[in-house]
């Protein structure tokens, strides 16, 4: 009996020592950003990437989220940043932001699509969770995934 108990405890310990598996999406974003020499300031915790084209409903949710949490992404803070990428039209982007002046946001306007990762998820708003400049986790806002709800919880902590 003791022998089995010992084995179970050992298995549990080995299992718990295993590093959390990095998702393929995280690996892909990490790889692409390294290739393109993109890095994040160590202070940044969350990066919201909003594409200009793709899943229109999801992008509308992303824009609405940004409007609602504009103060969390303001220029005065350093923890959150928003990246506008795959911009079809600056005019339409500004129009969709309505009352929010882009100059008041801690933002990057990515006209060269450097932050756009070539994958099926690029059509959705993406949230990068960062630790000391390293990408730890990536979540998307899609019809089946609610990445913005998780970000909301993080911002309200």
């Amino acid at each position: 009996m003791k022998k089995y108990l010992f084995i179970i405890i050992m298995m549990f310990m080995v299992g718990s020592c295993r590093k959390e598996e990095v998702s393929p999406l995280v690996r892909l974003v990490q790889k692409k950003y390294v290739e393109r020499n993109l890095s994040f300031d160590g202070k940044i915790k969350h990066c919201l990437i909003l594409p200009g084209g793709g899943c229109s409903g999801c992008i509308t949710e992303g824009i609405a989220f940004l409007k609602e949490h504009a103060s969390s992404f303001s220029k005065g803070q350093t923890e959150n940043i928003v990246v506008f990428t795959n911009i079809y039209s600056m005019k339409l982007l500004k129009r969709s932001l309505k009352n929010i002046d882009m100059l008041t946001l801690n933002s990057i306007v990515d006209m060269d699509n450097m932050y756009l990762v070539n994958c099926n998820e690029e059509i959705y708003p993406m949230v990068l969770y960062l630790d000391n400049g390293d990408i730890e986790k990536v979540e998307v806002q899609s019809p089946s995934k609610n990445g913005l709800e998780n970000l909301k919880r993080e911002l309200e902590k």
């Binding site: 039209s89 060269d112 070539n118």
Partner: protein
């Protein structure tokens, strides 16, 4: 045992690999007249200002009161510009049609007859210039599942008391049942009956064509009774007469296109790998939009030619030439290949009195749309 197992495994692996088929252009390289289009162009400038979109997906050049106008749909408004002067003259408010997003579009017939399609709601409206709804159809639960797109290339058409709507399907067409392959549907204005009038041609039976870009359908209307359909993989176009339901083919292949090959990848691989999906299309010949020129009785068809890579920013507009069919004289011609394809927006091209107008892509100055007008003979 191995003698049986090994050939069996080889057979299974072979049958899992998609077969590549080719659509040969039997008239490839034939000398044809290339003087249909002037190489030189004049510019037409539409001043959209700082609020109206400079890259509409649904727009039209139309004659109103003997003058050419440029109409564009932006959100829930059709803006009317004078084509010559480029100034905004009027607008039609379409709030009654809901939020017109994504693949929503319109077609102006007369001031009492404007077709508007709301893509998210799958609703079609007949409105007048006041934006007042005269009739409305919901296409959501229709049997003939054509996923209607009303943007440029497949604008809704009103022809012989019928409304014609078209849209592409995604995926492997060859695996879809024959009665589910419809790309164009008609609604009878008298009794509201809907039926599929055109499906993917046989050329899609042979193999898998990438599932996305090569599945696109384009249509044009001659203003009398004929619809013309163009498919990316087919050297022929299809003429469908709405009055008598007869269909024939017209050869409109490009002299630069020897063959179009299907994708060798499996549908699952292309579904999961966006890059591979795009690169198959980018590296292959194909055909694009089709327009009817009522002034000169010409059919214009875009032939798209391969390129090696996408641009660094992920865009991938292909070099193109314009194949022209003179309907009356049955004469085929083709322009040279446009090398400045990256500067042109083939999603915003129209026939005007002068010739073929193609919008330039200009992200730096969004206060105007600059059209290049190429004179047609």
């Amino acid at each position: 045992m191995y003698k049986i197992l090994v050939p069996f495994l080889i057979l299974i692996l072979y049958s899992c690999t998609p077969k590549i088929s080719q659509n040969e252009n039997l008239q490839y390289g034939v000398e044809i007249d290339s003087l249909c289009m002037d190489k030189e162009y004049t510019e037409k400038i539409i001043s959209v200002g700082d609020q109206i979109s400079s890259c509409p997906v649904s727009s039209q050049v139309v004659v109103i009161d003997n003058k050419e106008k440029y109409l564009l749909l932006d959100e829930s408004v059709i803006y009317i510009f004078d084509w010559e002067k480029g100034m905004l003259e009027d607008s039609i408010l379409l709030k009654s049609c809901g939020r017109l997003k994504n693949y929503s579009g319109f077609r102006y017939n007369t001031e009492d007859s404007i077709l508007v399609y709301n893509y998210p709601k799958k609703e079609l409206y007949f409105v007048d210039v006041q934006g007042k709804i005269k009739s409305k159809w919901n296409l959501k639960d229709k049997k003939n599942k054509v996923d209607v797109e009303a943007i440029n290339g497949t604008q809704p058409i009103c022809c012989k008391s019928k409304i014609i709507l078209s849209g592409a399907k995604l995926g492997d067409i060859s695996s879809v049942a024959a009665n589910q392959r419809g790309v164009s549907t008609s609604i009878d204005l008298k009794n509201g009956e809907e039926c599929t009038i055109f499906s993917y041609p046989e050329s899609y039976d042979k193999s898998f064509w990438g599932g996305v870009y090569m599945n696109t359908v384009y249509h044009a209307y001659d203003g009398v009774s004929c619809m013309f359909y163009s498919f990316p993989i087919d050297h022929n176009i299809y003429r469908y007469n709405v009055a008598n339901n007869k269909c024939d083919t017209i050869y409109m292949g490009s002299r630069y296109t020897q063959k179009i090959c299907s994708s060798g990848a499996s549908p699952i691989d292309l579904f999961t790998d966006k890059n591979e999906r795009i690169m198959y299309y980018v590296k292959e010949h194909s055909y694009g939009n089709i327009l009817y020129d009522r002034y000169r009785g010409l059919i214009l068809r875009m032939a798209e030619h391969p390129r090696d890579e996408m641009n660094a920013d992920g865009t991938f507009i292909k070099p193109f030439s314009v194949v022209v069919w003179d309907v009356k004289n049955k004469k085929l011609s083709e322009s040279l290949i446009f090398k400045d394809h990256d500067k042109l927006n083939l999603g915003n091209m129209h026939v005007c009195k002068e010739g073929l107008a193609i919008a330039e892509i200009n992200k730096k100055d969004e206060s105007k749309i600059v059209f290049r007008c190429y004179k047609l003979r």
